[in-house]
């Protein structure tokens, strides 16, 4: 198989959530190589880590993200794709560490204080990470202090706040205020089922979306500025 074919197959593995040979899905790819094995093959064949990332992994995540946006793929598909991508990224880690390839930047994400729901946060993490950003996941029930500490450790990072409950989304306002008081120019994204554009504006966040793919697209635009 030539390099182009391998890259195409790797893209398909990420899109379909085929992490490695042992992954039982999708049924039509049973016992075939997955994202992990194909990435090793490509590296051994001399394909650059950058090409693997930009021409196979990111396009694969974009395909599933687009399907999710259109309502033809759902939560499990997205998470399985992210797992497949992560299995591939394991092999690229040395090249990230050495600086041979770089992420687009750092995105800090967490579910806000008082809220323990993590599915929406994990979807955004999957898609934003899958589009080439390094994601720092602070988990759930995250206070202002922890967002601020993460920003101190990662200067220039953007921040994503998630909430599922109407009772906890109000905590976003204080967190945005606390971040703004300490840092200038931090891009703050907010999302979660009960949120609206108007709420985002009111609390002084920069961007609201319910669609993980749109969050990734927005972050890319902040980088170009």
């Amino acid at each position: 198989m030539n390099q182009e074919e391998l890259l195409n197959r790797l893209t398909t593995c990420v899109e379909k959530g085929k992490a490695d040979r042992a992954t039982p899905i999708p049924p039509e790819m049973k016992d075939m190589e997955g994202a992990s094995e194909l990435t090793v093959q490509l590296l051994n064949a001399g394909t650059s880590p950058e090409d693997i990332l930009n021409r196979a992994l990111i396009p694969g995540m974009k395909r599933i993200g687009d399907q999710y946006s259109r309502g033809t793929a759902f939560v499990p598909h997205l998470l399985l794709s992210a797992r497949a991508m992560n299995q591939a990224i394991v092999h690229l880690k040395p090249y990230f560490d050495s600086g041979e390839i770089e992420s687009k930047g750092i995105f800090i994400i967490g579910t806000v204080k008082g809220d323990l729901h993590d599915i929406g946060k994990n979807l955004v993490k999957a898609i934003v990470g899958g589009s080439g950003w390094e994601v720092v996941d602070l988990g759930t029930d995250v206070s202002s202090d922890r967002f601020i500490r993460a920003l101190e450790e990662n200067p220039g990072a953007s921040v994503g706040l998630s909430a599922l409950l109407t009772t906890t989304m109000v905590n976003m306002e204080q967190i945005v205020k606390d971040i703004r008081a300490r840092f200038t120019g931090v891009k703050i994204l907010v999302g979660g089922a009960p949120l609206t554009e108007a709420f985002c504006k009111k609390i002084g966040a920069d961007y609201f979306t319910l669609d993980p793919q749109q969050a990734a697209i927005y972050l890319d635009t902040t980088k170009q500025l």
């Binding site: 259109r70 309502g71 598909h77 109407t166 609206t196 009111k202």
Partner: protein, 292 residues
Amino acid sequence: MGKIIDLLNARNILVSDGAWGTFIHQKGLQPDACPESWNLERPGAIYEIALSYVEAGADLILTNSFGGNPFKLMPYGLDGRVYEINRAASEISRRAAGDSVLVLGSVGPTGKMLMMGEVTEEELFNGFTEQIRGLCDGGADAILIETMSDLEEARVAVRAAKQVAKLEVICTFTFTLTPAKEYRTMMGISPVEAVEMLIAEGADIVGANCGNGTAGMIEIVKEIRSVYTNIPVLVHANAGLPVLIDGITVFPETPEEMAPQMRDLVKAGADIVGGCCGTTPEHIRRIVEMVK
């Protein structure tokens, strides 16, 4: 036959209750506190909520146990008290219900994903079993597994309920309208797929809750009824779709607006109707007037 189906046969249409979560917060529960902990700490407040729905004329009331599984209670350090918390939940609603109202023991999702390996089927089964045992011993008349989105988690919950309880088992999923204009759970399950599994597992009553106002629920019930004509259907609709007013999310439909739509919901094939997010005892009072 079980108690709920018997009551349904006797009364033709049943009305259950409205929202609990928002109600508890109104009574002072802090956003970062565990709602189910109040079954032990503030049973009087929980009793008042239950009683307000009995007084509104509901035939069925729920229990304050939606997040009463070990996975949801763990972050609050309460996972060692699953049985106790759920038993108390049933006892409180049972006491408010009196003789003429039946109690549905509420069981919500765990928030853990089987397919991602966050939890095993056995752990899920054991967790649900412990919760449902508490609900049964506290006097629930039936088990209501609600707000489900994953077919496998719901299947495990129904099996646990069937095994523990000799009670009727009701299971409802949460569907939303996708950009492709289809009703699906967030895991991609359609109403017909959900009901097919539930009937196969022996659920007595199926349906939908949350995620929609009554208008959306009418479409969902029509989808279910296009395939399954006999199984009783329960619907708990939100008071419309949330809107933001003065920075606060509110469910906009007043009791006067919501209740008339319930007639169409019943006409579409729902047998048991009630409210979810944003509904109050006044909504239930109006719904009782409208459909009875």
